[in-house]
């Protein structure tokens, strides 16, 4: 297993290099720049030029690439133009917030997705199956930012159950955190739950047709004993492999969801950074996020490899 882990890490290096190259290159195609945003709508051209100079945006291209990689290898992701703080600090500050909401969302997703997927598989081709599948599909098909807007109107304005937005840190008030993160977590969970339902259902179907399940049933175990003892473990594995995918989708979704609910998380940071043309922050953010997801996938793959001997033979994909 160690050998596998090492080989995956080594394989990741060229990918990481490409990732950093993409992040760097993408930025320099952008027309417009951060100076215009910092200056506000009534800034004059002369003021903007001075801001640009002070921010070092006028250096030659080659010099910028070289300093970029030199800094990157030292772990320095640069200074955010709009925040005035190091990019890495900003990302580290924001990540727990998004992580908290993501975990909340993930919990809802897993509970809901697994349950509906299992129920669907057990009632294959019957009404419950159709209903569960339809629910999953609706989840994947609804635009989640639209759902978020609708939720605010329904739950905050008309029912008054939850606040319209904002964020209360858990350390400040667990109840406040729960109240401010529930709608965002639900909006994000919808998409994930749908995916998980489908995958759970199809994996479950596959597992249920296996011999050892028939044997267990023949032995006279109740349906739930059959599932609990035999099927569940096997169902968990594809779920684990999908974890990386789910987190990636969660991060994508949080860009808009955090903006709508006014949550100062990583998604909102990236969204604002892109709209403000905050070059260092966008680069640093893209690289951090991509690397984290890559590493997570490697961890998941290694886990999967360790748990399932069949993968070793097939070679994985």
């Amino acid at each position: 297993m160690i050998a596998y882990a090492v080989s995956r890490l080594l394989q990741a290096i060229p990918i990481l290099f490409l990732v950093s190259l993409f992040a760097f290159g993408m930025i320099y195609l952008i027309p417009g720049d951060a100076a215009t945003v910092m200056g506000g709508p009534e800034a004059s051209a002369a003021d903007l030029e001075r801001i640009r100079e002070n921010m070092g945006l006028n250096e030659p291209f080659l010099q910028q690439i070289v300093s970029f990689y030199v800094n990157l290898l030292q772990g320095d992701l640069g200074q955010s133009l709009m925040l005035g703080t190091p990019v890495l600090d900003a990302i580290i500050d924001r990540t727990p917030i998004t992580l908290g909401i993501s975990l909340y969302s993930l919990a809802v997703t897993i509970v809901f997705g697994l349950l509906t997927g299992i129920v669907a598989a057990l009632n294959h081709n019957k009404l419950l199956d159709q209903a569960a599948t339809l629910f999953a599909l609706i989840g994947i098909s609804l635009p989640n930012f639209w759902l978020a807007l609708v939720m605010i109107v329904v739950f905050s304005v008309h029912l008054g159950w939850l606040p319209t937005g904002g964020y209360v840190p858990f350390s400040e008030s667990p109840m406040g955190w729960l109240r401010t993160t529930t709608m965002p977590a639900l909006a994000l969970a919808l998409l994930q739950a749908g995916l998980l339902t489908r995958i759970t259902r199809s994996t479950m179907l596959e597992v249920l047709s296996q011999d050892y399940i028939r044997t267990a049933r023949a032995k006279g175990l109740t349906e739930w004993q059959v599932i609990g003892q035999h099927a569940l473990a096997n169902v968990m594995m594809p779920v684990v492999t999908v974890l990386g995918l789910i987190l990636s989708v969660l991060l994508s979704g949080s860009i808009v969801i955090e903006a709508i609910f006014g949550i100062p998380g990583l998604g909102a940071l990236m969204g604002n950074a892109i709209l403000s043309r905050d070059f260092p922050l966008v680069q640093g953010g893209l690289i951090s996020i991509a690397c984290s997801l890559l590493l997570l996938n490697i961890v998941v793959d290694v886990l999967y490899f360790w748990l399932d001997p069949r993968v070793r033979i097939k070679g994985g994909d």
């Binding site: 394989q11 060229p14 990918i15 990481l16 490409l18 990732v19 993409f22 993408m26 930025i27 195609l29 952008i30 027309p31 159709q130 599948t133 599909l137 609706i138 994947i140 098909s141 609804l142 635009p143 930012f145 639209w146 759902l147 807007l149 609708v150 605010i152 109107v153 304005v157 995916l195 489908r198 995958i199 199809s202 179907l205 596959e206 999908v242 995918l245 990636s248 989708v249 991060l251 994508s252 979704g253 860009i255 808009v256 990236m270 969204g271 892109i274 709209l275 043309r277 966008v282 893209l286 996020i289 991509a290 690397c291 997801l293 890559l294 994909d317």
Partner: protein
């Protein structure tokens, strides 16, 4: 089933049309496929018939007619500048379908080509898959808005950005299928008979990889419609002078209390389209190979 479609051909329907209809029959057994086809078909129909359903221009302003709720004069009401929502939603449908189709076509060409090459030539495989992995390391929407922000808002930008995001995923799906198919007997036989690589790929491998490809493409279409909505919602997609559904939601969100229909209608339109496509894809998969693994996002 590795991808072939087995059908019963009745004795008295051996003509081309007959065989075509007969080939369709298994699809009708899948509820998903039928419902999906109906939903998506409805959207396509409305899009094509659009100019006949309403002769009002989607950009015709009327300051006197603002915020009309749905009525006989305006089936879907009017917005804050008095523009007819039905016309705007229909034109939005045209845009979404145009962008979705373009992205799917680009995927069909480049995604398939790259996937086939990667599956067939193991030396290319390494390089291509590293690049694909690198691109897929970025969360989809994040990459799309990054590219869209770089290139500036336009329909073309949305198409390019979404293609860059989904082509690696499509390529992977095709590659997996090609990896399996190229080991099959008839391919090895063709090789032994001296057929060129190109011929093998085009005549033998691709036709037998159609199933996962079709399913993947229908999902790509669905994601394109949804992602394009996010892009234009953020102001990074089609220019607002063309009423994309995402822009309709973005324009309507300030008035959610006073004129809820402005946001509800485009949201439902997106959902129906995406749902139809997802159901189609599911149905295709059920019919062609229920155990098929496709890239989900």
């Amino acid at each position: 089933m590795a991808g072939g479609i087995h059908t019963d051909i009745p004795d008295d329907e051996t003509g081309r049309l007959g065989r075509f209809l007969a080939a369709l029959r298994p699809f009708t057994r899948s509820l998903s496929f039928v419902v999906g086809a109906v939903l998506f078909g409805f959207v396509v129909l409305v899009t094509l018939l659009g100019p006949f359903l309403t002769d009002v221009s989607p950009s015709a302003l009327s300051m006197r007619n603002r915020f009309q709720p749905p009525s006989w004069d305006h089936w879907l009401g009017t917005d804050n500048l008095g523009r007819d929502m039905l016309a705007r939603v229909i034109y939005g449908a045209q845009l979404s379908l145009m962008i979705g189709t373009s992205v799917v076509l680009l995927n069909a060409v480049f995604g398939v080509m790259l996937g086939a090459l990667a599956g067939f030539y193991s030396r290319l495989d390494n390089i291509l898959m590293r690049v694909a992995d690198a691109l897929m390391a970025f969360p989809a929407v994040l990459l799309a808005i990054g590219i869209a922000a770089a290139l500036g808002p336009s329909s073309m930008t949305a198409i390019i950005a979404l293609s860059v995001v989904y082509i690696p995923r499509t390529a992977r799906v095709v590659r997996s299928s090609v990896l399996v198919v190229k080991q099959l007997d008839f391919v090895l036989a063709a090789r032994a008979a001296g057929a060129t690589d190109l011929r093998i790929i085009l005549k033998h491998i691709l036709p037998n990889s159609m199933a996962p490809m079709l399913v993947q493409l229908s999902f790509v279409f669905a994601y394109s419609v949804l992602s394009e909505a996010v892009l234009s919602f953020l102001g990074l997609g089609a220019p607002p002078t063309v009423p994309s559904w995402g822009i309709l939601i973005s324009e309507g969100r300030a008035y959610m209390r006073e004129a809820a229909w402005l946001t509800v209608v485009p949201g439902v339109a997106i959902a129906v389209t995406a749902l139809g496509l997802n159901l189609l894809g599911d149905g295709l998969r059920d019919v062609l190979d229920p155990r098929m693994k496709v890239a989900e996002a």
